[in-house]
């Protein structure tokens, strides 16, 4: 029986003896762990879905030429008198000079996975009597697909842009009364006019985008917008989209261009995600505290119940340190047991709710993945937690005066 060592043997026997208490506290710890497991999975799923939705048709980072500003007549606000008010200049279509070099430099930046040149501006889509204002996005499709995943947004047609082809949002097609294969005209304020054939209808994830976007090849857009050979922005994809702002800062330092990350342009959503993170962190923290207090209180009671036994063990030669270990080990065992059971329970919850909770498209919000690193982390964390929860009761056990304990 002492293959496990004296302390562990006694700890296990004590736990087995207090069957009900042990079951209750392991159950409590398991539920806590399962809830943490579950909300982590749900949150990851929901946020992933939200971010995918928000950034769906958007590059993580967009590099634009700097805004043109009017130089003020009076520098600063020196004596409180202003001789003139400054009016913002209407923004012309501006372009990035020497973009191939900038694209290469950007691509070489740490964390960036793809860069695509884009010529974009507004125009009018016309078919018969119908006309709608549109956003023209001209790009090199192959490069662009590495920045924005249009692949899963195709409702019908194919993702191909040959000269004279366009991919448009489903709402725009409806507004123009066009179907796949139809032709329509795009005109611009710069005097360009071009006829496109619809090769694919896209669902870009929001009504606004769906009724405006026209994707075509770079050359066609350049000629429509009157900027042959030039581009209006570089679209950039990064590996970790939560780091988009950090990478933006790096790019800003490298070039004199205007650089916007999705985090800046979707400030409120990003703030909401951050708040969600903080809330769940708080929830997790409090669950952890409650579980620890539960373990501690059960062990405190157990020390009181086992006064006599502790006294006997001390009388027949167990040291204070050994009694301390016996109760610390009980904390660890309860923590680890609860974490293992809780992980299983959590996975069951996740698999159950992944069938119930669905996003707008009816796809599962999150999927069950056996993340053994997460389980390992949870178990190790629970062991440490159980140990810490047991410190106080274990010290009580160690401090017990054997003579008094035996007397009863």
């Amino acid at each position: 029986m002492n293959a496990l060592g004296f302390e562990l043997t006694v700890a296990l026997r004590f736990l087995r003896e207090g069957r009900m208490q042990t079951a209750l506290i392991i159950g409590g710890a398991a539920i806590g762990v399962a809830v943490i497991f579950f909300i982590t999975a749900v949150l990851t799923g929901v946020q992933g879905d939200l971010i995918k939705r928000v950034t769906g048709a958007q590059a993580h980072i967009v590099i634009k030429p700097p805004e043109e500003i009017v130089a003020p007549l009076v520098a600063g606000d020196t004596d409180g008198t202003r001789l003139s008010s400054i009016q913002a200049r209407p923004q012309r279509l501006t372009t990035i000079d020497g973009w191939p070099a900038l694209a290469r430099a950007t691509e070489a930046t740490e964390g960036v996975i793809a860069v695509a040149p884009v010529a974009t501006g507004s125009g009018l889509g016309i078919k018969g009597e119908a006309s709608r204002s549109v956003v023209i996005v001209g790009t090199e499709l192959e490069r662009y697909l590495r920045v924005v995943k249009l692949d899963d947004k195709v409702k019908s047609g194919v993702l191909v842009i040959e000269p004279g082809d366009a991919l448009i949002g489903i709402e725009l097609a409806k507004d123009l009364g066009a179907v796949l294969g139809d032709r329509f005209r795009v005109q611009t304020a710069q005097g360009g006019s071009e006829v496109f054939r619809i090769r694919a209808l896209l669902d870009l994830g929001s009504r606004e985008l769906n009724r405006r976007y026209v994707y075509t090849d770079l050359r066609a857009a350049q000629s429509l917008l009157g900027i042959p050979g030039r581009i209006t922005n570089l679209d950039v994809a990064v590996r970790d989209i939560m780091k988009a702002e950090i990478i933006s800062a790096k790019l800003r330092a490298q070039s004199g261009q205007l650089i916007e990350s999705w985090i800046q342009t979707n400030n409120q959503i990003f703030a909401a995600i951050k708040n969600q993170d903080i809330m769940t962190l708080l929830i997790r923290f409090f669950i952890t505290v409650v579980v620890s207090l539960g373990i501690a209180s059960v062990l405190v009671v157990s020390v009181v119940q086992k006064r006599k036994e502790i006294g006997i063990l001390r009388a027949i030669g167990a040291t204070r340190r050994q009694m301390l270990s016996v109760f610390l080990l009980q904390g660890v065992i309860v923590g680890v047991g609860g974490a293992l059971l809780g992980s299983v329970l959590g996975m069951m919850l996740v698999s159950l709710f992944s069938r119930i909770l669905r996003n707008a498209e009816g796809q599962a919000l999150f999927s069950l993945s056996f993340d053994f690193r997460l389980i390992g982390f949870v178990v190790a964390g629970a062991a440490v937690l159980g140990l810490m929860a047991a410190v106080l009761p274990a010290r009580n056990a160690a401090r017990l005066d054997p003579a008094q304990a035996i007397r009863g």
């Binding site: 006599k308 063990l313 027949i316 050994q322 035996i406």
Partner: protein, 242 residues
């Protein structure tokens, strides 16, 4: 284990114990006791309730420390020992038998007997040897068949016999017994006493038995009487033939 010394096994001088020292409810329960116990002595400690018998036993058993005086155990001065040193000395030299059996309910009879040997300080003692020794002792107390039973399945007398086996498993020089037959019927009581006597004769284990029972005391070799925290009498006794 038996480190033979020429002097007495236990020697206390001017032993004094005060509970709640320094507080208004301070109470001196032992007032300067001098006592020597030799190897292998079979001694009864008697006296009315509240005379300090249990306190003296606890101090001799290193479960409590004295407030004054000195204590030599097996030739070592243990007066100023700290908790760990006292635990170790207790473990090596002494055995305990309590009034209420005090077996650990989560362990079988055999495991209870083995426990003192499992505390990690008996290096060189193999698990199988320990089990063998426990079984031999359970045999000696007539409980061979109860080895794998839990204490709750045993009668009071049987539990006390397991406790005796446990007290003896490490071959102590002195076993301290606090009313070992206190809540047993006469028959069980006689069995227990006979066993203690047997181990005393066969193994030379010293015994100090606290008892209320004059019948039992009369069967010991020496009777110490404690009254109001002082030794009232200390005389050799020739047991009547039983």
């Amino acid at each position: 284990m038996t480190n033979k010394t020429t002097g007495p096994l236990v020697e206390i001088r001017g032993l004094q114990k005060t509970y709640n020292a320094g507080l208004p409810n301070a109470e001196e329960v032992l007032h300067g006791i001098d006592l020597a116990i030799n190897q292998g002595e079979f001694t009864a400690l008697i006296g009315p309730s509240g005379s300090g018998k249990s306190t003296l036993l606890n101090i001799l058993g290193l479960l409590e420390s004295a407030s004054g005086g000195s204590y030599q155990l097996g030739g070592r001065d243990v007066t100023a020992f700290d908790d760990d040193e006292r635990t170790l000395a207790r473990h090596e030299v002494l055995g305990f038998i309590f009034q209420f059996h005090h077996l650990l309910p989560a362990f079988t009879a055999a495991e209870n007997v083995m426990l003192p040997g499992l505390m990690g300080r008996s290096r060189g003692v193999l698990q199988s040897d320990l089990r063998e020794r426990a079984m031999e002792l359970l045999d000696a107390v007539g409980l061979h068949d109860a080895a794998d039973k839990k204490p709750t399945e045993l009668s009071g007398g049987m539990q006390q016999r397991v406790a005796i086996a446990r007290a003896l498993v490490r071959g102590p020089q002195l076993v301290l017994a606090d009313e070992p037959t206190g809540n047993l019927d006469t028959h069980s009581s006689d069995t227990i006493f006979a066993l203690l006597r047997k181990f005393n004769r066969e193994r030379g284990t010293g015994l100090l038995i606290v008892t209320h029972d004059p019948r039992l005391a009369a069967r010991c070799d020496r009777i110490i009487e404690l009254v109001d925290g002082r030794i009232a009498s200390d005389r050799p006794n020739t047991p009547a033939v039983t």
